[in-house]
Symmetry: C2
Subunit: 231 residues, 2 copies
């Protein structure tokens, strides 16, 4: 069975890069979407070399396209991952609005956290969470799930090291949640934990802030979580 293609918009950021590489290692067709495909192509070409010894094998080549072209070449069953900074989603979603295939599935990995003057803060989001904000800006026919919001970006982009963590999934349809969970399962050592409706994204996004607080208090970089008492 051929695996879905995965378009990662904002795929050259640290989190996007980690997801792109890990999905490629798992054998998926990955298309990195970018505002500037020429620069993105150079960035992606530099990954294998820059990562050094942590990347033992390159995996299948990662494609690059502008954001609209990345979304337009997806077929039924393919997935779009939204990995741009939260502050840029409005512009991106306006641009993409008419280009999403009806029935397509979007996975939101954004978190409304900012760093200003060395302080971490959560942005006030009128809809309650980044995911609900994004839901309000997607075409009705597109299904949305949240995932990978608490994954430590540095560890994610450090080659193939097992992640050893749970990743929380929520969404506005069972199918979107199922697809998001399947993406989590592509990453060695990551377990998807379904928490239900999309409105629960606010709890997951606060957990990202808690992970950052743990990192800062204890001078570590990869705080992440396991649920105890499940299964």
């Amino acid at each position: 069975m051929p695996m879905s293609a995965i378009a990662i918009l904002g795929g050259t950021g640290q989190q996007g890069r980690g997801l792109a590489q890990r999905f490629a290692y798992a054998g998926a067709r990955v298309i990195v979407g970018s505002r500037d495909p020429q620069r993105a192509r150079e960035t992606v070409a530099a990954w294998a070399g820059a990562a050094g010894s942590t990347v033992e094998a390159a995996g299948p080549p990662i494609e690059v396209a502008d954001n609209i072209a990345a979304v337009e070449q997806l077929e039924q069953g393919d997935l779009t991952v939204l990995a741009v900074p939260f502050t840029t989603v409005d512009t991106l979603l306006t641009e993409l609005h008419s280009h999403f295939r009806d029935g397509s599935i979007v996975i939101d990995v954004t978190v409304p956290v900012t760093f200003s003057g060395g302080q971490m803060a959560m942005l006030e989001v009128a809809e309650g969470s980044a995911s609900e904000h994004i839901r309000a800006r997607l075409p009705q026919g597109v299904q949305l799930a949240a995932a990978f919001k608490t994954i430590p970006a540095a560890l994610l982009s450090a080659g193939r090291q097992p992640l050893e963590c749970d990743e929380f999934v929520c969404g506005d349809s069972a199918e979107a949640r199922r697809q998001a969970a399947a993406l989590v399962e592509l990453l060695p050592g990551a377990r998807p934990v379904d928490v239900g409706a999309l409105s629960r994204a606010r709890f997951i996004e606060h957990l990202t802030a808690l992970a950052i607080a743990v990192n800062r208090t204890h001078k570590i970089h990869d705080a992440r979580f396991r649920v105890v008492g499940l299964r």
Copy 2:
């Protein structure tokens, strides 16, 4: 070294009961504070029998007092645990305001979560979190830390079963956080994780909501968390 006395206000609720019993098992002097000490005395007397086989030994007797008397009999180095429902803290803190010893330490375990019509919701708290709301209503000379906000109440009150989880601690002074962490360490299998300033309580309180979402989605009762990547 004699252990601090611990006054648990709202100590007859499920979470208060679990903490009272577990601190008593650990050898601490525990005073359950209540609005209605007569009824509380009956409740506390019934605990050992009601818990059945999960409670192998009673531990030292748990004392009962009205809330003001519980706080007034504390000495330097003793602790007050605030385990009343969040919706009742304003009344309680107004009542107690002039009775706190200067320099005393309060541990807040409340969470601004409500259940209405079977739906879980977080209350909007103007200060950002229950802990900051409480901070604004305590005398200046009292130090405040948050702890035990994500501890599963059912497991907590099930005798001496090890908890196998991390409990997040934050607070407005290093000493309050240290004392809160020491309380966590009284519970077998619980590890305190300091996350810094009291303003981080909002992240911890959302984690409680996430635990409830996990419980409801997976029809379990004791979802809790371990941090991976720490130590």
